[in-house]
């Protein structure tokens, strides 16, 4: 049995197209994680702190992607790309993934930010840090566990995503889930199980890290808390 299933892994790594797909998916997830986490964290900070009149509007704009079915997101992304004449490729997939990761990051980071208060930042400014200095030296380090957890969550979501990728990918190198889709539709193939297991390992490692890392920062709360704080409100 073992020998048999190992054979499919071997097949997987010998198939250069599949290998390219794996690397494409990892690349997409990594870029999405970085850009999405930066933008989502900025949005969380702005939403909690800004008194701008249109800030509630931005809040709604942030929440809508969480409730819109993915197929709608996929279609709108496809339309905008064809409208502006962008050739579909893994970069259009990245753009679509970032758009949807922003909201997840914001929800997770905002939950922690709301519980932090402003006094430590004021203390930093009182001690001579400029406003940006207080953000960099006090606010961001305080948010760090939530930011890391949100980033890894984003990585897992992007790596695992099928629908958005399906609508926005080009023909040349396709993300792994899209490749699985074509494989399934062409007929049964044991390679799929090998790919599935491999993907699961990647996703679970990302989520496992998301749960563990806040602990490594020496905080008392666990990652489960950081991630479910968003859920619990």
């Amino acid at each position: 049995m073992d020998g048999l299933s190992l054979q499919w892994y071997q097949e997987f790594f010998n198939d250069s197209a599949l290998r390219d797909s794996l690397f494409a998916s990892l690349e997409i997830a990594t870029v999405t994680m970085i850009v999405g986490t930066i933008l989502g964290t900025m949005l969380a900070i702005g939403l909690v702190r800004s008194r701008a009149k249109w800030s509630p509007g931005a809040n709604i704009l942030m929440l809508v992607p969480l409730v819109v079915p993915e197929i709608v997101a996929g279609i709108s992304a496809l339309l905008i790309f064809s409208q502006v004449g962008l050739t579909l490729s893994i970069w259009t997939v990245v753009l679509a993934h970032i758009t949807f990761s922003i909201s997840y990051v914001t929800v997770v980071v905002r939950a922690r930010l709301a519980s932090m208060g402003t006094e430590t930042e004021e203390a930093a400014m009182d001690l001579g840090a400029t406003r940006w200095g207080s953000v960099r030296l006090v606010l961001l380090p305080g948010l760090w566990p939530a930011i890391v957890a949100a980033g890894l969550l984003t990585f897992a979501l992007s790596f695992d995503d099928f629908v958005l990728s399906f609508f926005t990918t080009g023909e040349d190198v396709q993300p792994l889930p899209v490749r699985i889709w074509s494989a399934i539709r062409f007929g049964p193939s044991p390679t799929i199980n090998a790919i599935g297991t491999l993907m699961m390992v990647v996703s679970i490692s990302a989520i496992g890290l998301a749960l563990l890392i806040p602990r490594l920062f020496g905080r008392r709360e666990s990652g489960v808390k950081v991630l479910t704080a968003a859920e619990g409100g």
Binding site: T120, E122, A123, A124, G128, R131, W144
Partner: protein, 355 residues
């Protein structure tokens, strides 16, 4: 002495609500100055304007003679100790204390030296490498203090710094804070709603009510000569008796008796006033010449250890509280039983007429 801070007609509004109204104060260099008042009276808001976190709606703030209303907090030579400590959780004790010096780009060796000194000052030298969440409340308070003092600010602002500590630790920290202040000689502006704390520690006190400074003076003055009924009632316990001005230095109490009392300038006959007498200034059944004396009935007696508190009804619903020291005279417990007639008296000098 020269002045450290001057507030000129400073007001602060949050939308419609005026939290601080027309406050003018001068605080001298090296002074331990307290802002005292009930919750919500605008103490924190005043302090935050000094620190630069709030910009006054009106008025001027001068720090060592320079106007600073529009100077951001990070460019003001004042530092603050927050009620919640506001320590940086991701840094250890030494790095917390070094934070301000690093922002000023002080040389490394110098930083190390000064951090050591100020941790020494607050007796925390051995906790330099501790994580902030391993510290007790009192220790956190000391770190917050060291973190501010190490910068040698012109003025140190403290917002109810002992508010979160238990009573015993509070008393101990009061003494320590006062010692530290004498040692470093920095001007302290201290916010508290605890009148005993303010009286014990301050060189001068400003009593605030509803956004206004109602009296400013040395502790004795604020305690002995409250300018208003509010101050008399807020600082210490005071007997307030209603009365009507009868003539020169004569007041007729609502309970019927006429007493001698020093009237303030410009009191007219027939004007309604309040007489204020501290409980500890009232003596029972034992008088000296020149005292005001009244008769009453003992309503209640509470033994308090050092003192005995006697409540005396003057008739017509009016009553006063007297505190009798446990001297040889007061030790017999058959005296001042409830229902007994009693004579009470006080020196006219110890009685204050409030309008």
């Amino acid at each position: 002495m020269s002045e450290a801070i001057r507030l000129e007609d400073v007001s602060k509004s949050f939308g419609e609500y005026e939290a601080v109204k027309d406050v003018s104060l001068t605080i001298e260099k090296g002074e331990f100055f307290s802002l005292l008042g009930p919750s919500g009276c605008g103490k924190t808001t005043t302090l935050r304007m000094l620190a630069g976190f709030e910009i006054p709606t009106e008025g001027r703030i001068l720090l060592e003679g320079e106007p600073v209303e529009d100077v951001p907090p990070y460019e003001r030579n004042v530092n603050m100790v927050f009620q919640s400590y506001a320590l940086f959780e991701h840094l250890d004790v030494a790095d917390n204390v070094a934070f301000g010096l690093k922002r000023k780009k002080v040389a490394k060796d110098e930083i190390r030296k000064r951090v050591e000194e100020s941790l020494e000052l607050v007796s925390l030298a051995d906790r330099a490498k501790s994580h902030t969440n391993e510290l007790s409340g009192g220790e956190k308070q000391r770190v917050a203090l060291a973190r501010a003092l190490v910068n040698e600010p012109a003025v140190l602002l403290l917002d109810e710094p002992l508010g979160a500590l238990d009573l015993k630790l509070r008393r101990q920290m009061q003494v320590e804070l006062k010692q530290i202040q004498r040692e470093v000689g920095i001007t302290f502006v201290y916010v508290t709603h605890d009148q005993e704390e303010a009286l014990a520690m301050s060189d001068r006190i400003a009593v605030m009510s509803d956004g206004e400074v109602v009296q400013c003076g040395v502790p004795e003055e604020v305690y002995e000569h409250p300018a208003e009924a509010f101050v008399a009632g807020f600082i210490g316990v005071s007997n307030l008796m209603e009365g009507i001005v009868q003539g020169k230095d004569k007041v007729k109490l609502a309970s019927g008796q006429s007493v001698k009392a020093p009237l303030p300038e410009g009191c007219d006959k027939g004007e309604k006033v309040q007489l204020s007498v501290r409980p500890e200034k009232i003596t029972l059944d034992d008088f000296e010449r020149g005292m005001v004396t009244l008769e009453g009935t003992v309503a209640e007696r509470v033994y308090q250890g050092v003192n005995t508190q006697v409540t005396i009804s003057l008739g017509d619903g009016a009553s006063v509280v007297a505190l009798e020291q446990q001297t040889y005279r007061a030790s017999a417990d058959d005296r001042w039983e409830p229902g007994a007639k009693v004579k009470l008296g006080w020196h006219p000098d110890h009685c204050l007429v409030l309008r």
